[in-house]
Amino acid sequence: MYQYIYDGFLSDKKYDKVLTRIENRLLDLGINGKVNKITVLKNFESYIKELVDKKPDVIIIVGNDKTLAKTLNIVADKEIILGIIPIGNENTIADFFGISREEQACDIIAARRIEEIDLGNVNGQYFLSSVEIFGAGTTIICNDSYEIKALENTEKIGIYNLCLKDNMEIMFNPQDKNLEIISTPKISNGFFNFNKNKPLKKSLIRVLKARILSSRENNSVLVDAHKIMKTPAEVTVSNRKLKIIVGKNRKF
């Protein structure tokens, strides 16, 4: 049976119409199931834990990237297939997996095209897309054999399992068991910008594991663009895979 989890922000009345359209489409497709609505009175994580303990085959989260991020660490260790029905603009992960918005996602759920995706691990917590640290002076120890040192002209260094940002124009394979380290240079807007016709290149280095030490300006990392963790941060690809329903238009 399908278990549907509606994130708390969907209790706003402005989402009533779209939720009705989704429920009607699920009914038409014959994949309707139990609806679990998160409210301000319920703690999201503990509610999901209770649900997962009942060992459902499929959990469909209805929400956005943050909903998925909150769910990830609870379902990752279980034999559960995860689906997404994205609502709103903050759905870069659903876009990466080729999942259309709102009721159009119901058809993708019904098609049940399942892929196994690498899961990153940072200090014992799972992550899906990235661990980033901002500022120069960062040291990253890679594969226990060499160090990457970020020089003064570094804006940030990211360690990516899959990369979602269109402005980086990079889409990496989330099934290759590698992590990609990308160093992004600062963009100088100063008057004396002698390099403006020759922008500095990003660095790209593939690793199996990395240990991020603090930069001079920063002693924390940003995980999946929303969670902050302290350094040092041990980053690896987990042996666990996430089983997720994807669309035909996925970017890998």
């Binding site: 020089l151 002209n153 124009e169 889409m171 290149k201 660095s203 593939r206």
Partner: protein, 117 residues
């Protein structure tokens, strides 16, 4: 993958410095700094502003920057006009452009071909 990174396994850009024993499986481009040891199972490109203080191993190499260390190239080594090498070099094929500096011994085995521009 983006056009910027297509077909390249590793880019060591000018915003980073690598220290230690770096081993690559694919093509490696160095535009920044490397110290220690640098080896790849495929091709190496060293940009004009790159500074390498390391022993280097690769199948083919195109060098426009500065290397202090020994180069062991299995097939072809090309030094452009801006290349500065301080160290011993071994390669089957060596191409040296006018202006390149090479301070060290050259070893080319039996099947030797030296081209000069």
């Amino acid at each position: 993958m983006s056009k910027e990174f297509k077909d390249v396994e590793t880019i060591i850009g000018s915003t980073v410095k690598i220290e230690g024993n770096f081993k690559g499986d694919g093509d490696v481009v160095v535009e920044g700094e490397v110290a220690g040891k640098l080896s790849t199972k495929k091709n190496l490109t060293v940009g004009e502003n790159a500074k390498i203080a390391a022993d280097v191993e690769a199948i083919n190499a195109l060098v426009a920057g500065q290397i202090v260390g020994n180069l062991k190239i299995t097939e072809s080594l090309e030094l452009t006009a801006t290349a500065k090498i301080t160290g011993d070099v071994s390669a089957k094929i060596l191409t040296v452009a006018t202006g390149a500096r090479l301070d060290g011994k050259i070893s080319m085995g039996d099947s030797v071909l030296i081209e000069k521009e």
